[in-house]
C-alpha cells in the first residue's frame, strides 16, 4: 500500500507541488442494532482509497479516489496539485509548515480480542438479552442496544520521507430504555448516552458488564415519568463523569482548536472565545482545573501512534492550575502561531482532508470521591448522562440537558428530578469548579460522533473525567 501512496505523492510533485503527502486507508466497520429484542440492523462497510494533499506556494489542494490502480492514484496526486493552483486565485499568506521527525514505522492499537472475529451470534445475543431485561420493566416502550467496531489500516507517505503504517482498533456500544408518557418521553442509557467507545478490541465491551445495569436503567426511565421537574434556580451542580466529559468536549476541546482560533472554521463550526495573545495568562477556570490533550492514553478513544500528518502522538498541557497554556494544532496552524506542532490532525477516512481534531482532552483527577462531594454539599443538584447539548460558535454560552437528576440536601442524595438542565458561560462555569473526585473514579469517556469540517467529518475523541462540583450554576432552565 505504501507504493500507492508514493505514486500519489509523486503525481503531485511532478505537477508542481512543493510538498505532498498521501494516505491509503482501508477502513472496516460493523454496526449491530437491536430494538425490543429484534435485530434491526447489521451493517458492515469497507471503504478503501487514497487521499493526497499538495502544497503549492500558499495554497493547498486535496484529491481522493477509491480507485487504487496506478493510473488513478497518480492522477489523484496531479489533481491535488491542480486544485492547489486554483486555490491561489484567492491566495492567503505564505503557508509555513512546521518540521516534525521523519518516521518509517508501524504502530498498532493494543488489543486482545479482535472484535471482527467474535461470533455475530454472541454480539447479537448480548443486545437481545439487555433489551429483554429492559422490556421486562413495566412502562418501557422502547429498548435498544447497539455495538460498533472499527478496524482501520492507514499507510501514510510524505514527500519528506515519512512511511508510517498504523492499525487502529476501536470498539464499544451501549443501550437505552425509553418510557413514553402522555406528552413526554424519558430515556435512560448505559454506559452513556452515545454508548461508550474506546480503542481496543472486544474486551472493551466485556469490561462494561452490560447485563448488570439494564434493570436499573429501565426502572429509572419509567420512574422519571412521575418524577418532579427540576426547579429553576442557582445552586451547586454535581456532574457525573460522562456528562462532565461532554462539558469538556464542548466548552474546552473545541475552544482550544487552533484552526478555530485562527478563524479557519468561522463560517461553520465557529471560532473561539480564546485569543492567542492571552495564551499563558488567560484564566480558564479554578485552580482545580488541569486539562491535558494526551493521544497516548491506553484505551482512550482519541489515542493513536501518529496523526495524519506523520507527527508522533504526544501529551500537552492545555489548562494548568486554571490558566490556559496550550492548543490543539497541526503542522501548518502551529507554524503560523509560532508553536510546536501538536500532532492533532486527523481525517475521517481516505476521502477527507486532515484537520485539527481533539485527541484525548481530559480533566486530570482531584482528590476524594463522589461520596465525599455529596457529603460535603448542603444544597444542590446531581445530574447524570447527557440528553441534549448546545453551545454558541465561540464556545462560551452553553446549555446542557441530562437524562436524570436528583436533589442533594444536607450531604445526601434525595428525590429524583426529571428534565434537568443547566446553562452557563464557559470561564465563569469552570471558575466555579470547587470539588473534583480522584483517580479511582477517573474514566476515559469516548465520544464517537464529533462533527466538524466541510464536507462533514466525524471524529472519535476521548475525554477523561471524574465527578465534579460547580458552585452557583443556573439549573432547571425551562422552555
Amino acid at each position: 500500500m505504501f507504493d500507492h501512496a508514493e505514486l500519489a505523492v509523486q503525481g503531485a510533485l511532478d505537477a508542481g507541488a512543493a510538498y505532498s503527502d498521501a494516505r491509503v486507508v482501508i477502513a472496516k466497520a460493523e454496526t449491530i442494532h437491536v430494538q425490543n429484542q429484534n435485530l434491526s440492523q447489521l451493517d458492515r462497510s469497507e471503504h478503501a482509497g487514497v487521499g493526497v494533499r499538495a502544497l503549492i506556494g500558499p495554497s493547498w489542494g486535496f484529491a481522493a479516489t477509491a480507485d487504487l490502480s496506478d493510473h488513478a492514484v497518480r492522477a489523484a496526486g496531479e489533481r491535488a496539485a491542480a486544485i492547489a493552483k486554483a486555490s491561489a486565485l484567492v491566495p492567503g499568506p505564505l503557508m509555513e509548515f512546521a518540521d516534525v521527525a521523519v518516521n518509517q514505522t508501524f504502530w498498532e492499537t493494543p488489543h486482545t480480542e479482535d472484535p471482527f472475529t467474535v461470533a455475530l451470534s454472541e454480539k447479537v445475543d448480548l443486545l437481545v438479552a439487555v433489551t429483554k431485561t429492559m422490556q421486562g420493566v413495566n412502562g418501557v416502550k422502547i429498548a435498544t442496544g447497539n455495538l460498533t467496531f472499527w478496524d482501520t489500516n492507514k499507510w501514510f507517505v510524505s514527500s519528506q520521507g515519512h512511511r508510517i503504517h498504523q492499525h487502529i482498533v476501536e470498539s464499544g456500544g451501549g443501550y437505552d430504555a425509553t418510557a413514553i408518557g402522555e406528552s413526554e418521553t424519558q430515556r435512560r442509557s448505559y454506559p452513556q448516552s452515545f454508548g461508550q467507545y474506546e480503542t481496543g478490541g472486544y474486551e472493551v465491551v466485556r469490561g462494561w458488564e452490560f447485563e448488570s445495569h439494564a434493570q436499573r436503567v429501565a426502572e429509572e426511565a419509567v420512574a422519571l415519568l412521575t418524577a418532579d421537574e427540576m426547579e429553576e434556580r442557582e445552586t451547586n451542580l454535581i456532574l457525573e463523569g460522562s456528562q462532565l466529559a461532554l462539558q469538556i468536549h464542548e466548552s474546552v476541546g473545541h475552544a482550544i482548536e487552533l484552526d478555530r482560533i485562527l478563524g479557519w472554521e468561522a463560517a461553520f463550526a465557529g471560532t473561539s472565545h480564546l485569543e492567542l495573545d492571552k495564551l499563558g495568562t488567560h484564566r480558564y477556570g479554578s485552580e482545580l482545573m488541569n486539562i491535558t490533550a494526551d493521544a497516548t492514553l491506553a484505551g482512550a478513544l482519541g489515542s493513536f501512534g501518529f496523526d495524519d500528518e506523520g507527527t508522533p502522538a504526544g501529551a500537552v498541557d492545555i489548562v494548568k492550575d486554571g490558566v490556559w497554556v496550550g492548543v490543539l494544532s497541526g503542522r501548518d496552524s502551529a507554524a503560523i502561531a509560532g508553536l510546536p506542532p501538536g500532532g492533532m490532525v486527523r481525517a475521517d477516512g481516505y476521502n477527507r482532508l486532515p484537520m485539527v481534531r481533539m485527541t484525548n482532552v481530559g480533566l486530570l483527577p482531584g482528590t476524594g470521591s463522589f461520596e465525599d462531594i455529596i457529603a460535603d454539599t448542603d444544597d444542590g443538584v446531581y445530574m447524570e448522562t447527557n440528553r441534549s447539548w448546545s453551545i454558541d460558535d465561540k464556545r462560551l454560552n452553553f446549555q446542557f440537558g441530562c437524562e436524570i437528576g436528583w436533589e442533594v440536601k444536607k450531604g445526601k442524595v434525595g428525590k429524583m428530578l426529571k428534565n434537568p438542565t443547566y446553562t452557563g458561560i464557559t470561564p465563569q462555569f469552570w471558575g466555579s469548579l470547587d470539588r473534583l473526585a480522584g483517580e479511582d473514579e477517573h474514566l476515559h469517556w469516548g465520544i464517537p460522533n464529533c462533527g466538524k469540517g466541510q464536507p462533514m467529518q466525524v471524529a472519535h475523541t476521548g475525554h477523561s473525567a471524574s465527578p465534579a462540583r460547580f458552585a452557583n450554576v443556573r439549573v432547571g432552565v425551562k422552555g
Binding site: 447489521l42 471503504h47 484567492v90 440537558g401
Partner: protein
C-alpha cells in the same frame, strides 16, 4: 450502460440466486472549495464510487457498503454479505424487497455544474470575498455530480443522476458577522457576489450590537432558520418510525399548525434535487405532510410501511432501519409577503438570520434549545433598529408554528442552509407571534 448501472448489474449477477437482494450504487464527484480570512484554505475533490448491498435469506438480513468496485472486489464483497446474513437470527419485521414500479421522469442535472472545475469554484469564492470590501470572508462553494442506480432480484431496475451547487458564507467585521446563502442544481444560477453583498450588509448593520433582555418576542425568521425548523419536524415528527413508537408530535388530520403552513416532499418538483427513487428502489412521489395547517401524512420506508399496512412513500435513507425514513426534498410553502413587509408589521420583535447548534430537549413536544448567529436585529415599529448580540432560545417548534402563531409567510422561498446542510429544505421567511429567548450572550 453507465458505470453506476453496471455496478448494480455486476453485483446482482454475483448473487446468482443465493438470496433476495437489493443493490444501490452511486458514482460521481463531490468538490468543495473552502475559504476563511478571505482566502481559500481548504480545497478538495473526491471521486465517489460505492455499492450498498442488502440481502435476505429466509428472513435473515445483512447489509454492507464497499468501495471495492473491481470485479474481484465485488465478488468477495457479495460472498461476505451472504455469509453474514446466514449467521443472523430471522428478522421477523423484514418487509421483503420491492416489485417493479413506474418512476417519474426526473433529471435534476446541469452539465455546467457537472463540468465545474476548481477554477470555477475559486471564481465564485472570489466574487463572494470581493463583495466584502475589506471584511473577513469565510464559507464554501460546493459542486456535486452523481449517478445513482438501484436494482433488486425481483427485476427492479432504475437509475438517475443529479447535480448540486451551493455558495454559503459569512462576512465578518471586528464586532459582527452576517451570512448569505444560495443553492440549487445549477452553478450558473448562484449569484456569489449578491450572496456576499447580503452577508456584508448584515455584518455592517450588526457592527454595534446591544444586549436584548431575554423573554418572549415576536420574530421574523430567515429561510435558513425556517429550514432548520423543517429538519426537526422531519426527523422527529413526520418520520413514521418515531410516530409508531409514540415519540412524534404528529396527529394525522389535526390542525396542528397555523393554516398558512404547508409542507410537502416532492422529488418531481422542477426545483427539487436528487433522483426519483429511494435506496429501496421505491418511486418517490409528492407527499403532502401539512396542508393548510392540518397534518396529513408521515413519510415511510418499506419497514415502517409494512408495520402499519401502507405503501412506502419512497423515503428510505441510509441508516433508516434504525433512525427511520426522512424526506430529502422538503418544501415549506411560501407566501406573498416581502421580507420588508413581514418586518413592517412587527411593533417590537427580533429578526434572526441564522440558528446555531439546535438540539432537542424533548422529542415529542419538539422543545429545542439553540442560539442565534450571524445577524440578529431588534425590530421596533416596523423597522430594524439595533443589532442584538446572539441570544439563546428554548422553544417548542410545534407551538411556534401553531394555529394563530404564524403572522406572515415570505415570498422568498429557496433552498436554505439549515444547520444540517444546504440542500435539504426549500423554505421561506416567516413572521411568528412568539419566540422564547431564554438567555443572552452573557447567559
Amino acid at each position: 450502460m453507465t458505470r453506476h448501472e453496471e455496478l448494480v448489474e455486476t453485483t446482482l449477477a454475483l448473487i446468482a440466486g443465493r438470496a433476495d437482494a437489493e443493490v444501490y450504487a452511486d458514482v460521481g464527484t463531490l468538490s468543495l472549495t473552502r475559504f476563511a480570512n478571505s482566502f481559500i484554505h481548504q480545497n478538495v475533490s473526491e471521486d465517489v464510487a460505492e455499492v450498498t448491498l442488502k440481502v435476505a435469506i429466509d428472513g435473515r438480513v445483512s447489509s454492507s457498503t464497499t468501495t471495492h468496485t473491481t470485479p474481484e472486489g465485488l465478488a468477495a464483497f457479495v460472498d461476505a454479505v451472504i455469509d453474514s446474513a446466514a449467521q443472523q437470527p430471522v428478522d421477523d419485521k423484514w418487509p421483503g424487497i420491492g416489485n417493479p414500479a413506474e418512476y417519474a421522469i426526473v433529471d435534476h442535472w446541469d452539465e455546467a455544474t457537472a463540468d465545474a472545475d476548481p477554477v470555477d469554484r475559486a471564481m465564485a469564492v472570489k466574487d463572494f470575498v470581493d463583495a466584502g470590501e475589506g471584511m473577513l470572508a469565510a464559507g464554501f462553494c460546493q459542486t456535486e455530480s452523481q449517478g445513482h442506480a438501484f436494482g433488486n432480484s425481483n427485476g427492479v431496475r432504475v437509475s438517475g443522476r443529479f447535480t448540486t451547487a451551493a455558495i454559503d458564507g459569512i462576512q465578518q467585521s471586528p464586532t459582527s458577522a452576517g451570512s448569505g446563502h444560495a443553492a440549487g442544481s445549477r452553478i450558473g444560477a448562484l449569484d456569489a457576489g449578491g450572496v456576499g453583498a447580503l452577508a456584508t450588509q448584515r455584518a455592517r448593520d450588526g457592527a454595534r450590537p446591544i444586549d436584548a433582555k431575554p423573554g418572549e418576542y415576536e420574530v421574523v425568521l430567515s429561510p435558513e432558520c425556517v429550514s432548520t425548523i423543517g429538519i426537526f419536524l422531519n426527523a422527529y415528527g413526520f418520520n413514521a418510525k418515531t410516530a409508531e413508537e409514540g415519540m412524534s408530535f404528529v396527529e394525522l388530520g389535526s390542525q396542528q399548525f397555523d393554516e398558512s403552513v404547508n409542507i410537502w416532499d416532492d422529488a418531481t418538483d422542477p426545483r427539487a434535487l436528487y433522483v426519483s427513487f429511494d435506496i429501496e428502489g421505491t418511486p418517490k412521489r409528492r407527499t403532502d405532510l401539512v396542508t393548510d395547517g392540518v397534518t396529513r401524512s408521515l413519510v415511510h420506508n418499506r419497514r415502517t410501511a409494512a408495520k402499519v399496512g401502507v405503501a412506502s412513500t419512497g423515503h428510505a435513507v441510509p441508516g433508516g432501519d434504525v433512525f427511520g425514513p426522512f424526506a430529502v426534498n422538503m418544501f415549506i410553502g411560501g407566501g406573498d409577503s416581502s421580507v420588508e413587509a413581514l418586518i413592517s408589521g412587527v411593533e417590537r420583535g427580533i429578526y434572526v438570520s441564522t440558528f446555531n447548534y439546535c438540539r432537542v430537549l424533548d422529542p415529542k413536544s419538539l422543545v429545542v434549545t439553540g442560539l442565534t448567529r450571524n445577524g440578529t436585529f431588534m425590530i421596533e415599529n416596523g423597522k430594524i433598529t439595533d443589532a442584538v448580540t446572539n441570544l439563546r432560545f428554548t422553544q417548542s417548534f410545534i407551538s411556534a408554528l401553531g394555529p394563530g402563531n404564524v403572522l406572515g409567510v415570505g415570498d422568498d422561498a429557496r433552498f436554505a442552509d439549515s444547520e444540517f446542510g444546504p440542500l435539504l429544505v426549500h423554505a421561506p421567511s416567516m413572521r411568528l407571534a412568539s419566540w422564547n429567548f431564554t438567555g443572552g450572550a452573557d447567559g
